[in-house]
């Protein structure tokens, strides 16, 4: 009996003391945003910007509304560290704050243009490997320095990284900002050796603008695309749940509100020659018109549908032209060929870039204006 009691007491002493891994939340300094820039001085070095957020200060709303707190501490702190590797940079970060630098809540990674041009495949390994960082972390490229975008003090949110991360979610509301890009997709595209688009940020004073995107090929930044080209890309890849397209009917502007869209890419091989047929179909409503014509008249709606469809075909053709120039198949044309002609794909895939540059792509769009709003 006493043996059992002693055993139980010992067991309780071990178990009741709590978890081996116990750590209080106050011990963590959460890094919510990270910027990666190439260092101008040394080629081997990178410049990391760690956006550290102190939960208590973020809650008081920072400088503007936090006057009651007595201090004018910013809710976030951008710590710049120059190091060869990201892991080592975090080590240095630990020597500059008393909390444990933690990436568990990382929300956004901003890449500088230079580091993009050098190539991402080596830079991101730490983030993918460490197991703390989620694959849904938003990724951006800044034309210029990443640090600039992280230094913006946004009006809509006290914490810059939260603002940046959430900004991408508006890919549902606008067709001209690139589709959401996260760490997982970047990693996947690099491993599949597939070109991809990363949203491009233009930092302002109190906000940033997502303006077009950066084209990556073989994990290297090779060029930029404009918002109109981004729209073309998104029409072809068929993922636009919302956004607006402007067109012209009889010299007067109209705007079409996209409710849904889908596309299909059909490759065809005839006499050893590859061509692609892209069918885009969209449904939506008339958002505005300048003309006095009645929106209840079927002929007018017909004209609008035609005008918007030509507009869509135009932006798609523009996007294809630009990306052929870069030799970067971000549309998934290669994948469509692989799906439909697996044997032919095995034959041509080593030289796909050449084929892509030369391939005939025929884009056809159909638009249905189902609703006209609440006025005639």
């Amino acid at each position: 009996m006493p043996a059992k009691v002693v055993g139980l007491a010992l067991l309780l002493a071990i178990l009741a003391a709590g978890c081996w891994d116990v750590r209080d939340i106050e011990d963590y300094g959460f890094i919510l945003g990270m910027g990666i820039d190439a260092s101008p001085e040394a080629r081997q070095e990178l410049r990391f910007t760690f956006e550290v957020v102190m939960p208590a200060q973020a809650a008081t709303g920072g400088g503007q509304s936090g006057a009651a707190a007595g201090q004018q501490l910013s809710p976030f702190w951008n710590m710049v560290v120059k190091e060869k590797t990201m892991g080592k940079a975090l080590d240095v970060a630990a020597s500059r704050m008393y909390q444990r630098p933690s990436l568990e809540h990382l929300r956004v990674v901003v890449l500088g243009e230079d580091v993009g041009r050098r190539g991402l495949s080596d830079v991101l390994d730490f983030l993918l490997r460490c197991g703390e960082v989620r694959r849904r972390v938003a990724v951006y490229v800044v034309s210029g320095e990443a640090e600039k975008a992280l230094s913006v003090k946004p009006r809509v949110d006290p914490v810059n990284a939260v603002y940046l991360a959430n900004l991408q979610n508006n890919d549902r509301e606008s067709s001209s900002i690139p589709q959401r890009m996260d760490l997982g997709q970047v990693s996947r595209s690099i491993h599949e050796d597939r070109p991809f688009i990363v949203p491009r940020l233009v930092p302002g004073k109190e906000d940033v603008i997502i303006s077009g995107g950066a084209v990556f090929k073989k994990a290297r930044l090779v060029g930029w695309v404009t918002p109109v080209e981004v729209e073309g890309i998104r029409w072809i890849t068929g993922r636009i749940p919302g956004g607006r397209v402007a067109g012209e009917v009889g010299g007067k502007s109209i705007t079409y509100h996209i409710m849904q869209s889908k596309s299909s890419i059909k490759p065809r091989v005839q006499d050893g020659r590859l061509s692609l047929q892209v069918e885009i179909e969209s449904e939506g409503m008339l958002a505005e018109k300048e003309s006095q014509a009645s929106a209840l008249s079927p002929t007018f709606v017909d004209q609008c549908e035609q005008a918007i469809a030509r507009q869509i075909e135009g932006s798609a053709a523009g996007a294809i032209k630009k990306l052929k120039h870069y030799g970067a198949d971000v549309f998934g044309f290669g994948r469509a060929v692989e799906r439909n002609y697996p044997n032919y794909w095995i034959e041509i895939s080593p030289r796909w870039e050449e084929y892509f540059r030369a391939v005939d792509v025929n884009v056809h769009a159909t638009v249905h204006i189902r609703r006209i709003g609440v006025v005639r």
Binding site: W20, D21, R134, R188, R339
Partner: protein, 362 residues
């Protein structure tokens, strides 16, 4: 052994499918993807078919030899020495399976959950809990499986539903893109994912309703196959073949990719860890039980309880022996070959018994 210690057919289904699925499902997609890429689901289906055939053979033999279990009829069919050899392989297979499961349990928990807790502590805690359960016989094990099974199914369902917005099922195409040769080459590995089913030969005579052994065995194979194929296709649809191969634990990564609006459920991977602890608890207990049961047969012991405690240090050292993840993966290669040997023996036994049966009739 325990004359009253019997289980029902439903319990057998839940125990077998949880254990077999639970040992491998976290990393299965990576291994399959590295062999056959987009055609993994075909490979898995074929191996499931093989598993179903093996289960049928075992049950047929079991009926033919009047309810003897696999170890007993092995000695009858193969003679004493080859029977011994077979039991030896059987013990080795399930011993290694338990150490492998223990080790992968520890590795995952340490990687994602308890980063500072020593691996020794994680493994010992699991080992003693399992030994405690098994000390009470087979029925408590079956009941534990019965309790966990619905929870596991629910959690997996939540994770799989959560990633649906990110899934692109055209990733499965083109079918047979890898060619038949690579499918055949990968078959042994993939069949090894199902090898736990040879244990049906132990459980069949212990059923309350021995007549339902075959349907229970096949139902369990079917459930596991369904689980494997669905997880594989979803992993493929979310990550594509290259990334599935790059991720060490693709299924954990699925849970970590789910992005629920509002920070409330940001940590859905803790659900995954709870799931992993439950399935692994059942899986370790299962292979541990089979290993000690067969060892008892080999040594002629009437009771497995002392063996369970005797085996603890062996299991512990077996699990701690691989010095890193790569070495732990080498262990799985040994498992593949052992599985081939055991499956080969079962087919051989069936063929021999077929000949013997004819001899008697003639």
């Amino acid at each position: 052994m325990y004359p009253e210690d019997r289980i029902t057919a439903t319990q057998l289904v839940m125990l077998l499918s949880t254990s077999v699925f639970g040992t491998q499902y976290l990393l299965m997609p990576r291994i399959i993807a590295s062999w056959v890429g987009r055609d993994g689901w075909i490979l898995l289906s074929l191996s499931g078919l093989v598993a179903a055939i093996v289960v049928t053979l075992i049950i047929v033999l079991n009926r033919r030899y009047e309810g003897k279990d696999i170890l007993e009829f092995a000695s009858v069919i193969l003679g004493r020495w080859f029977g011994f050899l077979f039991i030896g392989f059987f013990v080795a297979l399930f011993y290694l399976l338990s150490t492998y499961t223990l080790r992968s349990f520890g590795d995952v928990i340490k990687l994602f959950l308890l980063k500072r807790t020593p691996l020794e502590v994680i493994i010992l805690a699991m080992l003693f809990t399992v030994a405690y359960l098994l000390g009470h016989g087979m029925n408590p094990l079956a009941r534990a499986a019965q309790v966990f099974f619905p929870i596991i199914a629910l959690f997996i369902g939540v994770v799989f539903l959560g990633v649906q917005p990110l899934a692109d099922y055209t990733e499965v195409l083109p079918v047979f893109g890898q060619g038949l040769v690579s499918l055949v080459k990968a078959a042994p590995v993939s069949c090894a994912f199902f090898v736990g089913y040879s244990a049906v030969g132990i459980f069949a005579p212990l059923l309350r309703e021995p007549g339902r052994a075959l349907s229970a065995g096949l139902a369990a194979v079917g459930l596991t196959l369904f689980g494997y194929v669905v997880s594989y296709i979803i992993v493929l649809a979310v990550f594509g073949p290259k990334e599935s191969e790059y991720l060490v634990y693709p299924v954990v990564e699925l849970a970590r990719t789910i992005d629920v609006p509002g920070a409330l459920a940001e940590r859905i991977d803790s659900l995954m860890m709870a799931l992993w602890i439950m399935t692994d608890f059942i899986a370790v207990s299962f292979s541990y039980f089979i290993a000690s049961f067969s060892l008892a047969k080999l040594t002629g012991l009437k009771e497995i309880r002392p063996l369970i405690w005797v085996l603890i240090p062996f299991l512990y050292f077996g699990a701690m022996l691989p010095r890193d993840m790569g070495a732990a993966q080498m262990l799985s290669w040994v498992l593949y070959y052992l599985s081939m040997v055991v499956i080969g023996f079962i087919v051989l036994m069936f063929l021999i018994s077929l000949r013997k049966g004819k001899g008697h009739a003639g």
